[in-house]
Each structure stands twice: as C-alpha cells, then as structure tokens.
C-alpha cells in the first residue's frame, strides 16, 4: 500500500513538475527599465495593396523636429490585414529620415522618405531613400536604397505614386521618374518651380502640387506631368494645403484657403472644377485617397489650445466630417478593396502612440483614442543571448543612455540559478551602437554590433568574463547583420557589406582578437547577385555558413538559400544552393547538434523549411516543412537535447536530430522578438525586449520547459 502511494505520489509530482515546468513562465527583468528614446511618433503614411495595408511613421526623441540638425527620426513600418489585424507581430525599423510615403505597384510596396542629416560642404549625400516591402511587411531590400543624392539635403518632404508602369517620386527640390529597378530619372520642374509637396496619378500620367510662395503666402501649383516627364503649364490655387487622389476621370482634390476646407475635381490635365465647402476652420496635413469610386479624406485642425483634432469624411457619399476630441495628429489613410484604414498619432503626456481604426468600405473610420488599436508597440532593440558552459546566460542589448544621448550596448544576463546579473556598458563610443550579437568563448565573450547610423561599421569587442575588461576591439568594414560562432578555440564572424551588391565576408579571430583568416564568400553566379543575412555554426569539424542570395533589382527575381563550409584556414567551399524561389525566402539560421546540422529558413507562403546535414555537409533526406500561421522574416535555430528548436515569429518548431518534425509551441508574441537559449534539460530561456507602460521598455528573460507530447508530423 505504501509503495503504491509512493509511486502514485511521485507520478503526480512528476506530472506536476512537468506541468509546472511547462507553465512556469515567469519573467525576469535583466536590464534597467529605460524610457523609450523615440517616444514621439509623427508623419503616419498608409498604402493599400488592395488586400491589406502598410503603415509607416517616424519616431523621434523629441516632440518637435529640428529640420536640419538634431537626431533624425527612425522610420517604422507595420503590415496590417484588411480587417485591421496586424500581419506582423511588431513594427520594423527600416532607416532614418523624415516623413515616409508609400506606393503599391501591384507586387510590392515602395516606401520612400527624405533624409536631412546635417551635412555641409559641396558633396552630394543621400537625400531620398527607399525600400521595397512585400505585402506581408517583410523587406525585399535589407538596407535602404538611395534614390536621390543632393548637395545639402533638405528633403524632409517626399511623396511616391505608382502610375501603373513607373513611380513618380518627389522631394523638396525636385521630382524623378523611377522604374521598377529603382533607377531614378530626374525631371525638371517648370520655371515657376516650387517645392513638390503632394502628388497623384491617373490614367498613367501624374499631377504634382508644388507649394510656392506668392507674396510669401503659401499657395499650391497644379502641375500636370505626363508619363514621359513633360511638365505642362501649371495653374495656381490660392491655398496652402491640398490632398489629391486619382479617380477614373481625373483626380479628386481637397484644399484649404486658411479659413475653410473644400473639395473639388480636376480633369486629367489639371483643369479644376468649382469647389464645394467641406469644413470650416484652419486645417493642415490633408490626406485623400480613392479606390473604386470611394473617396476618403482626413485632415488635422486645432479647435483650441488643449486639443488637436483629426477629422475624417467620405467625399463620394458626402458624409459629415467627424473630428476627434483629444489630442490626435498626423493622420493618413488608404482604402482596400473591402475596408478603409485610418492611422494617426495619439498624443500622451510623454509621447505618442500610433493607432489605427479600420471600418468596412461602406463606412468611414474616425479617430478616437478608444477606437481601433495601437500598432506602434515597440521594444527598443533586439537582444542577443548565448549560454555559457557554467549554465549562465549572457545577454547583450542596446540601451539608450540619457546621459550620453547615445545608444549603447550593454552586457548582462542571468546566473545559472536564474538571478539577474549586473549589466554594464561594454565599450562606450561617441556613436550610436546598434543591435548586438554575442558569443561565449572560454573565459571571454565576443560582442559585435553596428556602430554609427550613417555608413555604419561593425565593431567587435572581446571582453574578459571575470573582470569585464576589454581585451580587444576592432572595426570590421561597413556592413550589417553580423553573425558569430565559436569552435572551442576561435570565433568565426560573418557579415554582409553595405554597398550594393552586398557580399558576405567573414573572418576568423582568436580569443585575443587577432584576425587570422579574412575572406569572402564566392559568388555563385556570373550576374553578381546580392548576398545577405549570413548565419554560422560550428559543426564539430568545420564552420558552416548559410546565407540568402537575391537577384539585383531589375533582373529576373530569384531568391536562394546557399550554404558553404569554411575551413579553419578560412577557405570557403563552393556554395551549394539549398533552396530557391521567385521571391520571399527569409533569413536562414542554423545550428549543430552532435554530428547533425539543421538549417532553417522561411519561404512563401508562410512556411518554415528546414534541411538536415551530417557533419561533412551532406544533406540527409528532403526538406522538413512546417506550416506557419503568419509570415515571418528571421529565424533562430539552436540545438536542444534530442534535436533542434527553431524560433520564428512567436512560434517554436521542434525537430528531431534525424530531421523529423516533432511539434510546434506558440509563445507570447513579445517573447519571440529576441533570441533563446536551451539548457540540457530542454528548458528554453527566451530573451526579448518589450514595452513597460506606454513609453518605457526593458529586456526580459522568460524560461519555460517543453511540454511532453507525442511527436507530430505536419
């Protein structure tokens, strides 16, 4: 009897432990709580593919923008479904600049913004940047492309529209026709000049609305531009602001004369019909979009000192404007085939939150701090983690220092008992330090990050684990997305260069920081494709490097996942193409477990694909595919006892060492934004940053055990 009870009790205990470990998911904060360095969000922009939306905005450190000088804003994007549910779990930072604008060309979005970094002197510097984004919000270009370079950029206002065959991009000093390969052909403004501020497209041609100063009052020119770039004679409109959208028989327009807002219609060659009043009051930041006969407008007005209102109205059905009642500003909107999305910035005492409200296209959304949802939730940076042999977890993350006014990389983590370790700044410099990666060595740790925001270089720092002293530091070339792996004696570091076409470079370093064998990955084709997003692991015998290659803009689209083995002497074997697709392959990750190697990557549509290799690099079996409920960009793969775990989005896929798909586990969306480490008893510790309150954030660790379940195949 007693034995039975004892066994029963222990089974219950085991079960309890099992349940407890599966459900024990308490957060440990491992960084200071820091105030969001860019809590002020302005300049929302929206475009619709017809099926969904892409919303962009700028985030800055101060509520007011100094046009020239000061810190530029960071441009963020987030893809939203037609019903208003975000497709991506979190916003994505794509670059720095001002005032984004978006156009959909039938296949992808082009996001365009202006750069006003304070530079002086006679050299041209990037002035208008762009990035191509897929419908699901993942980035086609891994870094912004410079469309226009000017001397003394003063390009804080840029717009982009797609005519059906080409883009028209405008900025404060001019305009250009841009093709799909992002080649820009500059076209001249008429002698009346002005600063292009608004643009629309209809029937393959364009109308640009530059602002001009007539007697130092701001007025609008209606400037038709043909598809070949010929500008026709403009006419003047006596008002400072306008919004324009192409409709079947020309353009719909809204404009104000400083006392009231009017709607009007333009013929295809810019002849304006009589206007009718829409709203009385001083307005600014007008936004107008049209699709399939539905025309929607939004604008901003200041009824009194305590309020700024965003007002919206349907023009085609002549609805009465509805204005918000708090402090809402910087609104924009677009129309999909089934709905209308309004995005705006909702001001709080210490920052802004970007909110969206989506209604069916028979209706019209309006702005209200209780309506819709917030989409600008943002952890400040993506942390990286690695596990030391003593069981402690080292974590590196970026923090904004209020004293030095810079982003700095901190190193901290959890002890083997799960207690927070005191964190410290690794190596402060005068430049901003970007998201780090970290790898534990023997008694030393290597941390890499991007340094500086313009022509960012990769910095490498090796610190002593006990004293924290910096053993070595050096700057690798200009590049992004570093990755590192340790073979027990040395580290191998790889990154992608910044200049297009990007190339993956690597280097071996000993633990004193001496570079032993630099090199680059050989090209796989004669048309010099773009190599990006490298990942490395040590198989026990050799380093394995995986990366993604894309065709350059303007060539037939192909994405490929490539792998190569790199010897200790730094010689890379001929790359092997693992997978290819027309587009949409995600960033690969890989890990080694014993004599097995697993490479993971995402592929269309919403699939996680994996391949298993032996330690010599021979692929075993075919691919393992997991269906994923959403699109994801980046994967993280680590070895666990018995196989591998791969994190993509907020789901973890478990694969056995032999390449059998075991299970998937969903975790909290915020917990999947960083990295994870596994301990020998298969407890996964997720390291991530998330918001604390409205505008503060911190880095956290959350440990959970894996539930025991039967293996499942797809």
């Amino acid at each position: 009897m007693r034995d039975c009870m004892r066994i029963g009790v222990s089974i219950v205990l085991l079960l309890l432990v099992g349940i407890a470990s599966a459900t024990a998911a308490t957060e440990t904060q491992i960084s200071q709580t820091m105030v969001d360095p860019s809590p002020y969000r302005l300049f929302t922009a929206v475009a619709s593919s017809g099926n969904g939306y892409l919303v962009a905005w700028g985030a800055g450190v101060a509520p007011n923008i100094d046009v020239q000088g000061g810190r530029p804003m960071t441009i963020y994007l987030r893809a939203i479904g037609a019903d208003g549910t975000p497709i991506q779990p979190l916003p994505v930072a794509v670059g720095t600049g001002q005032k984004p604008s978006i156009a959909w060309n039938g296949h992808e979005y082009l996001v365009v913004w202006g750069i006003t970094d304070p530079t002086s002197g006679p050299l041209s510097t990037p002035s208008v940047a762009a990035i191509r984004v897929r419908e699901d919000g993942s980035l086609i270009d891994s870094a912004p492309v410079t469309l226009i370079s000017e001397v003394n950029p003063f390009s804080d206002q840029s717009t982009v529209v797609w005519s059906g065959t080409q883009y028209l991009v405008t900025w404060t000093r001019g305009m250009a026709l841009v093709d799909l390969a992002l080649n820009a052909r500059r076209i001249s403004l008429t002698p009346l000049g002005g600063e292009p501020f608004y643009s629309g497209t209809s029937g393959g041609d364009f109308i640009v609305l530059p602002i001009v100063f007539v007697g130092f009052r701001q007025n609008i020119l209606i400037q038709p531009v043909s598809a070949t770039g010929e500008t026709k004679t403009p006419t003047i409109l006596n008002g400072p602001h306008a919004g324009i959208a192409g409709v079947d028989d020309g353009y719909a327009m809204i404009w104000d004369d400083t006392t009231a807002l009017y709607t009007s219609h333009l013929s295809a060659d810019g002849v304006m019909s009589p206007s009718s009043p829409l709203f009385t009051g001083r307005v600014r930041l007008l936004s107008l979009k049209a699709r399939d006969g539905r025309i929607a407008a939004s604008w901003q007005t200041s009824p009194d000192a305590t309020h700024i209102s965003v007002c919206t109205a349907r023009i085609d059905t002549a609805t009465k404007p509805i204005c918000s009642s708090g402090v809402q500003h910087d609104a924009s909107l677009d129309i999909s085939s089934t709905s209308i999305l309004l995005a705006w910035s909702d001001q709080k005492a210490d920052g802004d939150v970007v909110r969206i409200n989506v209604t069916p296209s028979t209706d019209m959304p309006h702005a209200d701090s209780t309506l819709g949802r917030s989409i600008s939730d943002l952890p400040p940076a993506v942390p990286a983690a690695d596990r030391r042999s003593d069981g402690s977890v080292i974590v590196a993350w970026t923090e904004y220092s209020q004293t030095s006014k810079h982003f700095e990389v901190h190193l901290g983590g959890l002890s083997s008992k799960g207690v927070r370790l005191t964190d410290r700044v690794v190596f402060p410099t005068s430049l901003d330090q970007g998201p780090p990666i970290v790898s534990a060595g023997f008694g030393r740790t290597i941390i890499l990050w991007n340094e500086g925001t313009v022509e960012s270089k990769i910095r490498l720092v090796i610190v002593d684990d006990v004293s924290g002293a910096v053993i070595a530091t050096l700057l690798l070339g200009t590049g992004v997305t570093p990755t590192v792996a340790f073979d027990g004696v040395e580290w191998m570091v790889a990154w992608q260069t910044s200049a297009a076409p990007s190339v993956v470079r690597f280097a071996m370093l000993n633990s004193d920081g001496v570079v032993l064998a630099p090199g680059s990955v050989p090209a796989t084709s004669t048309t010099s494709p773009s190599q990006a997003a490298p990942a490395i692991t040590w198989s026990g015998k050799t380093f394995f490097l995986a990366w993604r290659e894309s065709a350059l803009a303007g060539q037939p689209a192909t994405d490929r996942i490539e792998v190569s083995a790199v010897s200790l002497a730094g010689v890379a074997s001929a790359p092997v193409t693992l997978d290819f697709a027309d587009a949409g392959l995600g960033m690969p990750s890989l890990a080694a477990n014993g004599n097995r190697l697993l490479v993971s990557w995402g592929r269309p549509v919403n699939t996680l694909r994996q391949a298993v290799f032996d330690s010599t690099g021979k692929q075993l079996g075919k691919f393992i595919d997991f269906a994923w409920p959403y699109a994801f960009g980046r994967t993280r793969t680590h070895a666990i006892t018995g196989g591998f775990a791969t994190l993509a989005g907020s789901r973890v896929a478990l694969t056995s060492a032999d390449g059998v798909a075991l299970d998937t586990i969903d975790i909290q969306p915020a917990a999947g934004t960083g990295d994870f480490v596994a301990d020998p008893s298969n407890r996964l510790t997720f390291i991530y940053s998330r918001l604390v309150g409205n505008t503060s954030a911190a880095t956290f660790a959350q440990t959970m055990g894996l539930p025991r379940r039967r293996p499942q195949n797809r």
């Binding site: 046009v67 100063f213 130092f216 701001q218």
Partner: protein
Amino acid sequence: MAVTGFLTDSTLCIGCKACEVACKEWNDVPDDGFVWSGLSYDNTLALGHSTYRHVKFVERDPKAGCGGNSAEQITWEFSSDVCKHCENAGCLEACPTGSIVRTEFGGVFVQPDICNGCGYCVVSCPFGVVDRRPDDGRAFKCTFCYDRQKAGESPACAKACPTGSILFGRLDDLEAAADRRIAQLHASGMTDATIWNPKETSVGGTHAFFIVRGDPRAYNLPPKPEVPTTLLHQSWSAAAVAAGAMVGLSLVAFALGRGAK
C-alpha cells in the same frame, strides 16, 4: 525654397545664452559694452544693433513646470528674444533705400551694402528690434542667418541651443509642432502655456513666434502690435486736408488782401 521660421519654446529655455554667443560669433557682432544692469541676470537688456538674440530673465514664484531650488526661493522663466521677421514688417515698409528686403526664406534682411543709415526703420519697428550702429552708421538686426540658410544650414542660434528651445524649420511644420507642444503642456498641468503669434493684427503673424507661460506682456511681447503702415491712410489724408487748407487760406488771404488794397 521654403518659408522658414523660429519657434522659440520658452518652457525649454534654461537661460544659458548659447544662442547669444553663437549668434555674435557667427555674425561677427560687436560687444555692447560690459555693463551690469542689476535686472536679474539680464545684462544684455534689449535687442539692438549689436544684439540679435536676447535672453530674458523673468523672475517668478515657483509653480508646476517652473521649479527652483526650494519652494521659498524665487525662480526664473527664460526666453530668447529675436527679430520677429514679421509677415508685414514695419522696417521693410519704411526703408526708403530698398535696403530692407524679404529673402526667399521669408525672413527680413537688411542689405548692408545699400543701407545709408537714415534711421527710419528704427522708429518703424513695433518691437524695437533694429537699430543704427553708432560707429558704423548702418542699421543692423538679426539676418536670420541668411548665409547659413542659403548653404542649407540652420541658423547659428538654433544649432547652438542645447535644449531644443529654439526650433528652426518650415513655418508650417513649426506651427504644427507648436500646437502639439501646447497640447502636451496643457495635458501636463501647465495650462497657462500660450502661443504668441500676432496673426490677427496688422503685422499678420511673425515668422519667429513664441511659446510662453502666463502673460506675454511679462516678456515685453506686445499683445496688439501694429505695422505703422496702417496709419498712412489717415496721416496722408490729414496732409491732404492741410495742403488744401494751405492753398485755400493763401489764396483767400491774398485775394482779400488785394481786394482790401
């Protein structure tokens, strides 16, 4: 080129006078004598021919958002005054040589190679900004750093301001920023924050406008400045009346006198 402006947010000013120093160094402005005024820490006292930025020290009792070392001590609000670059500028209208012009950035600029120092602009500015420099003879005032703006830079004071109290940019953007800032201040409990931009007077708004707390008159910002050209009609009409009277009286006097002879 955009019409640019200054938004001077006095709630952020710390009275460091970096703007005064930067402006004087960039524009090679002479010193205005080293005098102790005895008026708080303001020894600059006013805008003039050798001062284009003037930091004002307004003494206050502590209140929310305007603290001091202790609740019993007097504290300050600071504000950096500058040429208002009026939409309808008195100095510009008054200048007989055409020296004072409007630049492509919307600022008011005295061309130093044309000015002959007649001094009429000095009495025509409702804000007392421009003045004649005694040893030089010409009139001087804030240039809006026209040379820097042409090079695509922001004015020296805006660049030097450490707190972002002096904001430079497109006028439209600054007005939007001022609205947001006022809403933010009101939400934080500083309900006496106000924008001073005399748009409804004949000045028609100033390209350098201010956010101040409390009564703008405590900063010597006049509530109803008028551009003196509004007086021209009544004054010239009176001159016409006077002229008519002179002619009429003279003729009558001589005609009657002749008749009397």
